[in-house]
Symmetry: D2
Subunit: 243 residues, 4 copies
């Protein structure tokens, strides 16, 4: 499908309202900061947040979404199980999903991964350097061999997720850790990209490389228009007579 | 860990009590038929069934289990969610899991995969031929290039599971379908093998090749004694001064 | 890179000149039959054949190629080693490669895979049914759950290639075999797709589904514009003082 | 196959004879340092070096070898192409291969990978920390979450090898780089492990964790006794009459 994917940026949108330090960085919410460069790149973009009815993830909203981008952190438990199940079904049916940073611990991502999605972490204003280990992958388009974020939260291995279908980035942290920080998965007909950076107290989503990765990921994760999944009892395709 | 893994064979054990055709094939239950050749091969084997307290999957039972083998079909919904969560945690902590045939639709397997685990099927006494596509994999030890089951239920693609870490078998079916029928996954510190054959009305678990695969899978899935998983807030390992 | 990839279709072009049965199916050569629908789909397409100087694979020809499509069979040994090395280098630097059918035994593919690339085969006018096992993959765009070729050469497992990064198709054959028939690989910055169908005596390359797969594969394999590969001795990026 | 694999440790054995600094660390050769702990662990171990006839890799030597361990650096080009082809064939037929450190640039490894196997490097007495990213893998048995080497040569990404079937270790380096440093591959019926550490001027092969990894890798890579690979023209397995 060659049309530009329609993006829905979902943000928990609590830190920005409760913590002045976060509001100072993202005055209109993290979702606005993620949406702006995508709009500038030509994507049709809407946003939704936790406190909207059905978290803004109604059947009709999802029906108009090709790629969902997810940021959450302090209120994972407030996301309704029925909405999580609905989004999961949409992903399996082909909707793309880009999970950012602390979204690793969202109900949605844990449910799609089947693991704890736990990790090590530290908030210490550390430098992160993301190395490209899949230079031919479309999510690395337009990047150099690595890019740096001067200050970020550390996430360290072991990251309890399934081994990715494709590993695009590995992060180096100043304090001595590494992290698999750009991970591609296929689930059902859907494609999922997990991207590590984006702690709420840092201006990470204003970084040009981070913005480029998110845009690349949205294109990569967009529905491909393949076969509709079908299951159940089937008549044979061949009426074979064995010898 | 070089010791022989302790196996727990779990069986729903309903078909055998309700359907004469199944009881005729597996008079002591499918679990007994699976356990016998494993015992003969030297594994310590216990069994557990759905209608036991906590389905026989108590904390203490799991604590003494290195590899759990799972057969279920008609009563997936009766497996208690708390028990499913307990078993999932054990798998992530390193216990091996071998899921057989209709276990693809168990709560446990669906939860570990994160997908619908749905497929196409047909009961028509068809020939299945399982081809080895990973000849160096330990689960293929002792096999020929393929083996046949004269009559089995058909399972056909698309099988809605994550792409496996390693694909060991692909099945050919008489009616025109194929199926990825031997799938290896790592989840947390645990290893999972899904093996397709084993419909309850056929004597599949008396087949020498099937028995060999299950024994190989138990050895492969056994805990390896690697690092204990640890997560959470961490002090830096380096106190670096950047220039 | 959003521009349409420039395709070079390479064909050995010997069968068509030596065997009337093949000339009857492909009077202008297999390359012409592959090129026509790609041109119709809007790709800039050139062709090259074995008996041209440097097999038509000069430095300048490759410099203008984003995706190379390869068909060869009876004259693999006549392909010059220096040209093979040149093409391999281009693939590692990012050029896409689509290897068709008997190209599995080309010097180029064997060199890129590192294995024998051997398989089982039979010419017996058999039905082949290709099942999609990666419904979200862009190479499956526009297809149904499977497609059939009424008569093809059989290729059977074990196919001695590395496990693919992504497995898109699995073939069922009338005579009892299966084959992993659509395989994605990344090598260096380049992307490689192996696609099984296309025996020279059958009109396979006139099949609409086959044409669609080849066009999809060309788009998928096109250079992505990622980081230029760089190697060698490097100064440290951090001048760290360890504690 | 439950018997203990027979190991052949191959070493170029030139640095030790030409450079006093290396001889001071490995007075009996790197091969001796690698072999000793393997013997202590109960493996039958022989050694071979470049300057022996046929580099010590005769048909009969390979016939008695289950796992070959390879260290080379300054004389890769002196390894005879015919010997390389012979070893490659043995690997595809099922012999295990463990390639150490600078062996990444050996003819053998490059031929098996199909890529340049190039990387970034620096000799600067840097700390390396190897993180386990596959805690359930048998090659991580007995390790902690990470282990450190106080001084090593740096190897940095992009490492131009195929994405591994399983990624076991990722290294952190003091100077700001990361490296995929423990890589599992299957090729034919053989299993290959690449392990990064081991520069000739450092006492790396006396490190207990490094020794453990090499022993684990030898067990993992040992032949599994699966089907013998067979190829070529085949009669159909089914004489099917299609409807």
């Amino acid at each position: 499908m060659s049309t530009t994917p329609r993006i829905l940026v979902w943000n928990e949108y609590r830190h920005e309202k409760q913590h002045a330090a976060v509001a100072a960085v993202y005055p209109d919410g993290i979702h606005a900061a993620i949406a702006a460069p995508l709009r500038a790149a030509g994507f049709p973009v809407r946003t939704a947040t936790l406190d909207e009815p059905e978290h803004g993830l109604t059947e009709s909203a999802l029906a108009e979404t090709d790629v969902l981008i997810w940021w959450g952190h302090m209120a994972h438990d407030e996301v309704d199980d029925a909405v999580v199940a609905r989004v999961q079904q949409r992903v399996l049916a082909g909707m793309g999903l880009v999970v950012l940073h602390s979204g690793h611990f969202s109900k949605l991502f844990k449910r799609l991964m089947g693991t704890s999605c736990d990790l090590k972490w530290r908030e210490a204003d550390e430098r992160e350097r993301l190395w490209v280990v899949a230079p031919g992958h479309p999510i690395a388009a337009g990047l150099g061999e690595y890019f740096e974020l001067p200050r970020e939260e550390m996430y360290g291995e072991f990251f309890d997720v399934p081994a990715p279908d494709e590993l695009v980035f590995v992060s180096w942290f100043q304090g001595g850790e590494v992290f698999r920080s750009g991970l591609c998965y296929s689930r059902g007909a859907g494609r999922i990209f997990y991207f590590r950076p984006g702690h709420e107290t840092y201006p990470t989503y204003y970084d040009a490389n981070v913005q480029r990765v998110i845009a690349n990921a949205a294109r990569w994760a967009a529905p491909t228009g393949g076969p509709v999944l079908a299951f159940g009892n089937r008549a044979p395709l061949e009426k074979l007579t064995l010898t």
